[in-house]
Assembly symmetry: C2
Homo-oligomer: 218 residues x 2
C-alpha cells in the first residue's frame, strides 16, 4: 500500500487510510498472537473502524490476513528482486533468478511466512487447513510480486522470451514451495536448505534447456 499521495482528494485519502489501518492492525495482532487467530471484532477495534468497514475493504478476514502478511514480507521480497537486478540487464536472466531464489535467501522467508500464519513449524507439524491455505495464497501473491519485479528488470529488452522465462520460473518456484513445505514443514535448517537447493537446481536445469543451450547428456 503506497503512502497516500497528495493528489488524492480527501475521500480517497480517508479510504486509503482506513484500508492501511486495517492491514496494520492485522499485522499487529498476528505479531502479538503468533498466529492469524483473531476475530473481526478484535481487528475492527484495533484498527479503530466499524466491523462493516472491514468488509467494505476486504471480502473476507483471510484476505486481510494475506494482505498483512504480504505487507510484512513484501519488503524482503523486493530486496530479493533488487539484488537479482543488481547485476545489470546484460546478466543472464536465469542465473539471476537462480541466485535470487537460493536456499540461503528463500528458506528464511518461507519459514517466517509459515511461522507468522500458523505458529511454530516443524517437519512433524501440520497446520490446520485454514492456515495452510493462507500460507499457499500468501506465497502465491509474493511469488507474483517477485515475478513482476524480475520482469521489470528486463523490460528494456522488451523480449517476450525473457518474460516467458521469468513467469515459468516463478510458477515452478511456487509448485516447488508446496513440495518443499510438505516435505520439511517449513523448518529452517541444513536439511531443508539442501532440499530446496536440490529442487531449485531441477527447475534451473529444466529451463536452461529451453533457453537454447545444447541438451545435456543424461
Amino acid at each position: 500500500m503506497p503512502a497516500t499521495p497528495d493528489a488524492l482528494d480527501r475521500r480517497a485519502a480517508l479510504k486509503a487510510r482506513h484500508r492501511q489501518a486495517i492491514v496494520a492492525a492485522a499485522a499487529a495482532l498476528m505479531d502479538e498472537r503468533g498466529s492469524a487467530r483473531f476475530s473481526v471484532d478484535e481487528l475492527a477495534a484495533r484498527a479503530d473502524v466499524s466491523r462493516r468497514t472491514v468488509f467494505n475493504h476486504f471480502a473476507t478476514l483471510d484476505d486481510v490476513v494475506i494482505a498483512a502478511a504480504s505487507t510484512i514480507l513484501g519488503d524482503v521480497v523486493d530486496e530479493l528482486g533488487a539484488r537479482a537486478g543488481a547485476a545489470g540487464p546484460d546478466a543472464d536472466v536465469l542465473d539471476q533468478m537462480a541466485a535470487a531464489t537460493r536456499a540461503e535467501h528463500l528458506v528464511p522467508l518461507m519459514a517466517r511466512l509459515v511461522r507468522m500464519l500458523g505458529g511454530e513449524s516443524g517437519a512433524g507439524t501440520t497446520l490446520p487447513a485454514r492456515e495452510a491455505a493462507l500460507v499457499q495464497r500468501t506465497f502465491a501473491l509474493l511469488d507474483e510480486r517477485l515475478t513482476a519485479t524480475m520482469v521489470g528488470h528486463h523490460a528494456e529488452l522488451d523480449d517476450l522470451a525473457v518474460e516467458l522465462l521469468v513467469v515459468a520460473f516463478m510458477a515452478g518456484a511456487l509448485m516447488l514451495f508446496r513440495h518443499w513445505y510438505a516435505a520439511t514443514g517449513a523448518v529452517d535448517d541444513a536439511r531443508s536448505r539442501r532440499l530446496w537447493d536440490e529442487l531449485q537446481g531441477h527447475l534451473v536445469d529444466l529451463l536452461r534447456h529451453g533457453q537454447g543451450a545444447p541438451q545435456d547428456a543424461r
Copy 2:
C-alpha cells in the same frame, strides 16, 4: 465542548471530533494572528476538514470565532463562578455576584477578549464593525454561561426570586460592559478598573433595593 464520552457511537464521535478540531483550529489561528482575520479555507486546512464541513457544523465563520473565543475564556469564567460559589449556599447571593464581577476579576477578562478578537485595544481605538460585533456576541455568551453557573449554585434553594436576581444581575452586567467598553476601549488600567467598579456599584445598589432592604435616602 465536553470530551467525547465513550457512550457515543462512532458517527457521533466523528462529528464531535470534527467540530472540536474546527474550534481548536480557529483558536490557534486567532492566537497566531492576534486577530480573527483568517479565511474559511485557512481554517478548514488547519482543522484538516473540507470547507463544506465547516459550514455543516457552524452557520458562519463568525460563529466559529465566537465558539473558539468562548472555549478559550470559558475556563476563566467557570473559575469566577466557582469562586463565587465557594462561600456556600447560605451566603448572600448579591454579595457573591458583586464579588465575582469586581474589576480585579472582570476587567482582565474583558480586555483579553477584545485583544483576542481585534488586536490591540485602547481608549482611542475603535474596532472595525465586525470585530466589535464579535466581542459583543462573545461577551453575551460568556455572560450567559456565568449566569447558568450562578443559578446552579443556588439550585438547592429552588427559589424563583434568586434566579430572577441572578438573571437580572447578569443582564445588567452585559449592558454595563457595552458602556464601559465604549468609554475605555477595554484597556486594562487603574482608570478603567475604577470606572467598572463604579458602574457595577450602581447595579448592586439597584438590585439591593429589590431584595427587600429599606430604600436608602438619596
